[in-house]
Each structure stands twice: as C-alpha cells, then as structure tokens.
C-alpha cells in the first residue's frame, strides 16, 4: 500500500467511525419510535394518515437522485474533470435545497392545522397522537438539519474544486462528504415508510 492510499484508507475509516456515532444517535430515536408505536398502534396509524404522502414520496425520490448526483460527481473527479464534477454537485445542492423547501411547506401545513408539539389541539387529542407528532417533528427535524450540514459541506467541497485543491489525485474530502450525504439518504429511507406509510 502506498503512503497516499494508506492516508485515504485512514481518512475513510475515520469518516465511517463518525458515521457510526450518527447511526447510534438516530438508533436511539428508532428505539423510542418502536416502543411508542407498539403502545399506540391505532393512534400512530391515524396520525400517519395526516401526513402528506405525495410530498414525502417526492422527497424520497429527490434524496435518492441527489445521492446519484454525488456519486457521479466523484466519478467525474476521478476521471479528472473538475468541471463536470462541479455540475453534478450543483445538482446535488439544488436537490438538497428542494428537499428542505418541501419539508418547510410540509411543516407549515402541519402548523396551520395546529399540529405541532404541545399545541392545544394535540393536547386535547389522545396521547398517542401527541407522541407521534413529537417523534415526527424531532426525527425529521434532526434529519433536515443533517441535510443542511451536508449542503454546507458540499459547498465547501465545490469551493476547493474551484481552487484546484480537490482533483483527480486528492479527492478524499469529496469522498467523505459523499459518505455523509449517503448516510443522510439512508436515514430518510427508514424515516419515510415508518412515518408516512403506517397501515
């Protein structure tokens, strides 16, 4: 193993170790979700029906497509084309922003129906409804904040590509930013059926 590929392997390992802590962070919340869904199955089913399935499904497609764009950006830089890589990263940033805009509309709709944690409307409903929406806002909110961080990271990567500090030989930062972005995608892959599709 050359020195450079050893460096790359260490950086990748470090990034995965960080991702493990992220997995545990969301894992704890999935434990809460499992316990409460078991306790309030009917309320979870009814409350899930109040979520906007078309927006949730659209956001799933958007995130999956943004992941594809990151992978293609990495493939482009490995071919030595920084320009194409930047184009794919622009697509990622656009899709990520679109995801957040959709999320914003979705939350706004919930707020306008007085469905937010501790709202008088929810407190008057069965306890299970209140628990469902608390989990929904916290988990999708934490996820959305990860999308925001991922977007910032990708903008930094794009700046470095423009400066020539990320290129064919040195693209570890792009690789690791991609790992982060894909993990955020994986978390959404679980959030989507668990919140929007409770039958």
């Amino acid at each position: 193993m050359s020195e450079q590929s050893r460096d790359r392997a260490a950086a990748t390992l470090g990034m995965w170790l960080f991702l493990f802590t992220e997995i545990l962070l969301f894992g704890g919340l999935f434990v809460l979700y499992a316990v409460y869904r078991r306790r309030y199955p009917l309320e979870f089913h009814a409350a899930s029906g109040l979520l906007n399935l078309p927006i949730g499904a659209a956001n799933t497609v958007i995130l999956l497509t943004s992941s594809l764009a990151v992978v293609l950006a990495l493939a482009a830089i490995r071919r030595g084309s920084g320009r194409q890589s930047l184009l794919w990263l622009w697509a990622t940033v656009g899709l990520g922003a679109l995801f957040l805009v959709n999320k914003l509309f979705e939350w706004q709709e919930k707020f306008s129906h007085h469905l937010y944690p501790n709202s008088p409307e929810l407190l008057a409903r069965p306890e299970g409804d209140s628990v469902f929406f608390s989990l929904y806002f916290f988990m999708t909110g934490l996820h959305a904040s990860h999308v925001l961080i991922g977007l910032a990271l990708i903008l930094v990567v794009m700046q470095r590509i423009r400066q020539g500090r990320i290129d064919r030989e040195r693209h570890t930062l792009l690789f690791n930013a991609g790992l982060y972005w894909h993990l955020v995608d994986v978390i959404w892959i679980y959030l989507f059926p668990l919140f929007y599709l409770i039958s």
């Binding site: 392997a9 990748t12 390992l13 995965w16 493990f20 997995i23 545990l24 894992g27 999935f30 434990v31 499992a34 316990v35 078991r38 306790r39 399935l53 499904a57 799933t60 497609v61 999956l64 497509t65 992941s67 594809l68 990151v70 992978v71 293609l72 493939a75 490995r78 071919r79 690789f175 991609g178 790992l179 894909h182 993990l183 995608d185 994986v186 892959i189 679980y190 989507f192 059926p193 668990l194 599709l197 409770i198 039958s199």
Partner: protein, 94 residues
C-alpha cells in the same frame, strides 16, 4: 472517459433505478393489508435499499474486509438494540 468509467456510470444509474423501483414497491406494499407483516415488509425493503446505497454509492464493496466487518458489526448491534427493546415492550406489557 474509458470504457471502465462508462460501465461504472451505467451501474450507478441502474442502482438508482432500482432504488426508485423499491420506493414504489414500499408505497404499493403499504396499500395491502398484511396485518403486522406490513411493517416487516416495509423494513425489509428499506434495508434492501440501504444495502444498495452502502455497497454501491458509499463504495463499501470496494473497501477492505476490515471496514466491511466493522460496518456489519455496527449495524448488527443497532438491530439488536432496537429489536430487543421492541420485543421487550411487546411481550412484557400485554
């Protein structure tokens, strides 16, 4: 771009198409009434999607055996934590 590069790009697009297909399957599957199996099917499909993302988009299939085993161990521990907590509350408080 060499033939190798074109091949891997076609592969990525195939994985993406597979992910979209599985998403459609999840939505379709949730319309069927399978009782408690609904959530099992949803989780199985989600795990299949997550595996595709990890192997191809996160390039785990190209990584060394050591890293692959670490990821597998972490996910196994996570499944144990979530699974056992769930079974505990499911069986203890009837």
């Amino acid at each position: 771009m060499g033939a190798e590069g074109e091949k891997s790009i076609a592969g990525y697009i195939a994985v993406w198409a597979g992910l979209l297909g599985l998403t459609a399957m999840t939505i379709g599957g949730s319309r069927l009434d399978l009782g408690y199996l609904n959530v099992v099917v949803a989780l199985l499909i989600a795990t299949l999607k997550a595996t595709l993302v990890c192997l191809f988009f996160m390039h785990l299939k190209d990584e060394g055996r050591g890293l692959q085993l670490m990821v597998l161990a972490t996910l196994t521990i996570l499944a144990l934590i979530v699974g056992f907590c769930f079974f505990d509350v499911a069986v203890r408080y009837q």
